[in-house]
Amino acid sequence: MTEQEVIELIDSSLAEEFELDRADMTPDANIYEDLGLDSLDTVDMVIVLEGAFDFKIREEESVRAIRTLGDIHQFVLQKVVEHS
């Protein structure tokens, strides 16, 4: 997958799960303040990303540091590289 394809898969998966407006999904959007997610949603976000990319990230400390959509992009891109 290209970097752009990874980002598109992240954004489309999260948009579907959390019924987000794609126009709001900019890399600097805070997932809590701007996209309206909460702690229950972040549980489901991990499951959605695990399903989309077929990796396990639930136990990763760095998941908890995620604040923006751009953080998710970078986190997933790094995991995809590690798994390739």
């Binding site: 959390f18 019924e19 399903g51």
Partner: protein, 410 residues
């Protein structure tokens, strides 16, 4: 028993015959049916019943996602019906969280569809890694009650009685008792259920589901009729806002009716088969609670689901209570059996009948069965004033329940 007088000030309805109180009342008076052939049931092995009475026209996405994520359809129905009841009552938003408003809403089970979907995935590899956070909130026993309280910000008591087909009759009764006792000023109460093939199968396996009218859905179920052959399962939610009369009057609310009696009993003769004597005792206890006698009853809204045994047992009990001195009808021929919602949807319909001065006939009652004879069966709508109504609901598990409803004019 009543220490405080308890009245109804709001009604919310999501049903197979309309998505609010006015639509339901109009459809019932018009003799319409919500029963239809459901093609999807043909794919299920061993299930002979092909009929159901589904709710149509509800868009789940009309409920905000963060509220909806913990809801299956039954909670969505209960939430929408609760909103309607509060709006009809003119309940002030600032009193939602006063602690004096409670919620008593039950269902037969948590969401079977949600459970099915979870286990279908779980059995692939016995992994819980794909389990979403909303699962438990949709399958827990108090899913409807908790979701209504959470979504509307209601901070008083929350209860979720569960007694299959008697659930919402009990819910209204328990709410009535708590308000009468002064523990709450008002309570949103009733029941909700969503259709799943397992519900139809539950009755089919006991030879109590309708199977002879699969190609003529409009002809089933047939309460009290000689050609009745069982239940048709439905879904929906009926929610009443019960309120202490003093509280309702102080805020200038319109009083729709009064709840003046309630009884619920356990029939230990069988977990599945109804006993006429136990039903009679339940109705007598409810009338005694109301301080009324059988002669005061103007109309009985029967549970009568269209089963051979249940209808005969209830007809016998009503015959023993009041003979043919008051009209009797069942709404299952219109609505199917909306399970945990049936008591409160049908109580809402009874208030509609009171307000319009018309009693709704039993749909599909063409030839009164000998076992159900001796009552004033309504085979045509009847224009009359009904000030005191008995509402029965009887459930698997030997649970009997009766509410006494009185018009505000009486």
């Amino acid at each position: 028993m009543s220490l405080e007088n308890v009245v109804v000030t709001g009604i919310g309805i999501i049903s197979p015959l309309g998505l609010d109180y006015e639509q339901l009342t109009a459809a019932l008076l018009n003799g319409e049916t919500g029963v239809q052939h459901v093609a999807a049931l043909e794919k299920i092995g061993g299930l002979r019943s092909r009929l159901a009475a589904p709710v149509e026209g509800v868009d789940p996405k009309s409920v905000p996602r963060k509220i909806r994520r913990s809801m299956s359809n039954m909670s969505i129905y209960a939430y929408l019906a609760s909103q309607q009841a509060l709006a009809m009552a003119g309940w002030p938003d600032e009193e939602l969280s006063s602690g004096r408003l409670g919620v008593v809403i039950g269902s037969t089970l948590g969401s079977t569809e949600t459970s099915e979907n979870f286990f279908a995935d779980y059995f692939r590899d016995y992994s819980l890694e794909r389990m979403k956070s909303g699962l438990f909130f949709q399958i827990m026993g108090h899913s409807c009650a908790a979701n209504v309280a959470q979504s509307l910000g209601i901070t008083g008591r929350v209860m979720a009685p569960s007694a299959a087909c008697a659930t919402s009759c009990q819910a209204v009764g328990y709410a009535y008792e708590q308000i009468a006792f002064g523990r709450q000023d008002a309570i949103l109460c009733g029941g909700a259920d969503e259709f799943h093939p397992l519900t139809a199968a539950t009755f089919d396996v006991m030879h109590a589901a309708s199977i002879n009218y699969n190609d003529q859905p409009e002809r089933s179920p047939r309460p009290f009729d000689a050609a009745r052959d069982g239940i048709v399962c439905g879904e929906g939610s009926g929610i009443l806002l019960l309120e202490k009369r003093e509280h309702a009057e102080a805020r200038g609310a319109t009083i729709l009716a009064e709840i003046c009696g309630f009884a619920t009993t356990s029939d230990t003769s069988s977990i599945a088969n109804p006993d006429s004597g136990a039903m009679l005792e339940c109705m007598r206890l409810a009338l005694a609670d109301a301080g009324l006698s059988a002669a005061d009853v103007d109309y009985v809204n029967a549970h009568a689901t269209g089963t051979l045994q249940g209808d005969a047992a209830e007809a016998g009990a009503i015959r023993d209570l009041l003979g043919d001195s008051a009209p009797v009808s069942s709404l299952k021929g219109h609505l199917g059996h909306t399970m945990a919602a049936s008591g409160s949807i049908e109580l809402g319909a009874c208030i509609g009948m009171m307000q319009r001065g018309v009693l709704v006939a039993t749909r599909n009652l063409e030839t009164v069965d000998k076992s159900c004879a001796g009552l004033e069966h309504l085979q045509q709508n009847k224009t009359t004033e009904a000030n005191v109504i008995l509402k029965n609901n009887f459930a698997m598990g030997g649970i009997n329940s009766t509410i006494v409803l009185r018009s505000n004019k009486a």
